[in-house]
Symmetry: C2
Subunit: 363 residues, 2 copies
């Protein structure tokens, strides 16, 4: 199998294909992600490795990714060679972690990189907390499919780079919370119904007791905006990967059920309040001349709920997902062709959202 | 001169013609009004009169109005014969006072009435606090024209109904604050610039020291909404009518100057904030599904400012004035053909505003 590799290619639309995927329960689950932490035998853990060791590993990992059949054509970036805006573009697409692009502080470490299938949100980070973080991102509720992707990639990469493995603990990882399977699966899920009916806290607490945790848009420690939650497994040890995925699927399925119930309650008990709320959100997005990101997310949350409940005809949920990615500051700065301070970014954001909604008219 | 009189006619669009008038400084002054308080010799003041005396006076006043050349065709209503919604329609058009339709409490007194030129906001209330309150309402800044109207009507009515007059005090009125000329002139003025630049209090205090007072939308004691103020003379004694009008005109002219200055400052110092504010107001008006009256007035204030400053292309200010009248609850109830509770009224209001703005698209 021949695949084509580009090294440090320009950042175009890589890693956004999940948006178009029509996954299950797409009106509630934005996307599903699985990642596996792997370390390679014979190399020091990233935190202890020298720059030369990291670069050597980066080259190995890039070659392994290039040889992968499942990734097909691959783009490879050494993150330290990207400018700040391009690094942030990758972060805004959730293709790299903040840790990868920030390094121990100030900027990415030499050898920190990303290999990415050219037409999918599927690939691996190199020299993050662990040597390798294999990851697949899918649209809608598709944990099993994302797991199959990553599992295949894991076999292909593992065949070329022998992993550090302990017969008792499983795959060894830099941080003990990842040891074992090294698997983290998560869904990015929109729960406005549970928030509006004030059941969200109870639901999140219940999940916590079942080994499942939640985060905000940009992962660990980030803020919840727009009623979007990242829900993921906390345990990685003592179970098979399939069991972990199954367990999270069941749990998320239950959360989806609660959310659907909450939405019906809202529709039944306060249809007019709900309709007014979603149309006001639409009206502000459609006409504002300045939109801070967080406010935009809150308004998009209202519009997404409205579209899901057929109170609004458009925009489609994939259009909303695209806005959530492309109305982030680095994406706006790329379109503008210059750096944007906060005020500029808010104005460009409003202009972008307005153009998208106007070309996709709901009225 | 023959004029046609209708007694207790259906309420259609009477008294709204001022909206179409293109008065001076119409982007700031919504309307100008002059009224004269008059009492008729040989009748007890309204507060002391019997129902029969009031009805006799009502008949006399109706005949005098019918004979007036300046009013041309006249509609005459005895307010106590109107249902509550129709009385409120007249109030919402500011053709009658709350005192006239409420009487001493519970409802209008027998003999309380209104004579109105069929094609203008011009006529007289009968058996309000005084026997007669001659009034003319004009669009924009047209105090002098409104005064000429009322002055002519005063001559015509006075020729048939001899007024109570004291050689020293002037025209006698029920309340001593009206004695003398019996004149009250006012403008309904939109001052968002002075409010946003926090100069409004200073300006209003300055006016107060010059014998000029301000009120809200529905007159004495009513709340300021949407940055709309009724500014009127407080003194009625010791000056000629022309002097009082001139003085108020000069003063309002100065307020208009301050408001224009404030608007330029806003445009110069914070054009983006201003543009965002007016477009957000437009977006909410255009899309909300429930609009409380006071919120609507505040949003219309933003839109009116935006249109005046050419930040928005539409709606025209006359369309905004029409909304301010027709989106009041009794007007909405008439369109709906039924009583509306507050929730219903808010929904109908939103629907009405949406239709007007959609047919008059600004985007």
């Amino acid at each position: 199998m021949t695949s084509h590799v580009r090294t440090d290619p320009p950042i175009e639309d890589q890693g956004l294909a999940w948006i178009e995927e029509d996954g299950r329960d797409g009106e509630i689950v934005v996307s599903s992600r699985v990642r596996l932490a792997r370390n390679v035998q014979g190399y020091s853990f990233s935190s202890h490795a020298t720059a030369d060791e990291r670069e050597a590993l980066f080259d190995k990992a890039g070659s392994a990714a290039a040889a992968s059949g499942v990734l097909e054509d691959v783009d490879v970036w050494e993150v330290s060679r990207l400018n700040r805006r391009d690094r942030t573009l990758l972060l805004e697409r959730r293709l790299v972690s903040k840790e990868l692009i920030d390094g121990p502080g100030g900027g990415p470490r030499r050898g920190a990189g990303l290999a990415l299938a050219r037409t999918r949100a599927f690939g691996l980070m190199v020299n993050e907390e662990d040597h390798l973080r294999l990851q697949a991102l899918r649209g809608g509720f598709q944990l099993a499919a994302a797991w199959r992707d990553v599992d295949q990639l894991d076999e292909e990469i593992g065949a070329r780079l022998p992993y550090a493995f302990h017969h008792e603990f499983g795959f060894l990882t830099s941080c003990p919370t990842n040891v074992g399977t090294g698997l983290r699966a998560s869904v990015f899920i929109h729960l406005p119904g549970l928030v509006l009916t004030r059941q969200i806290r109870k639901v999140l607490e219940g999940m916590g007791q079942l080994g499942v945790t939640y985060r905000g848009l940009y992962g660990e420690g980030s803020k919840i905006v727009g009623n979007f939650f990242q829900i993921s497994n906390q345990t990685t040890l003592g179970k098979t990967e399939e069991d972990l995925i199954d367990q999270l699927e069941v749990l998320v399925g239950r959360v989806i059920g609660y959310e659907k119930q909450a939405r019906s309650v809202l529709l039944r008990e306060a249809p007019n309040v709900l309709e007014d709320k979603v149309w006001r959100a639409y009206g502000l997005l459609r006409h504002a001349r300045s939109l801070p990101f967080e406010e935009m997310m809150n308004l998009l949350s209202g519009v997404r709920l409205g579209v899901s409940l057929k109170l609004l005809d458009s925009p489609r949920v994939d259009v909303i997902s695209r806005i959530m990615i492309r109305a982030q500051t680095a994406h706006l700065a790329r379109s503008a062709g210059r750096r944007l301070d906060e005020t500029d970014a808010d104005a460009f954001r409003a202009g972008y959202v307005r153009r998208v909604l106007t070309s996709d008219d709901a009225t």
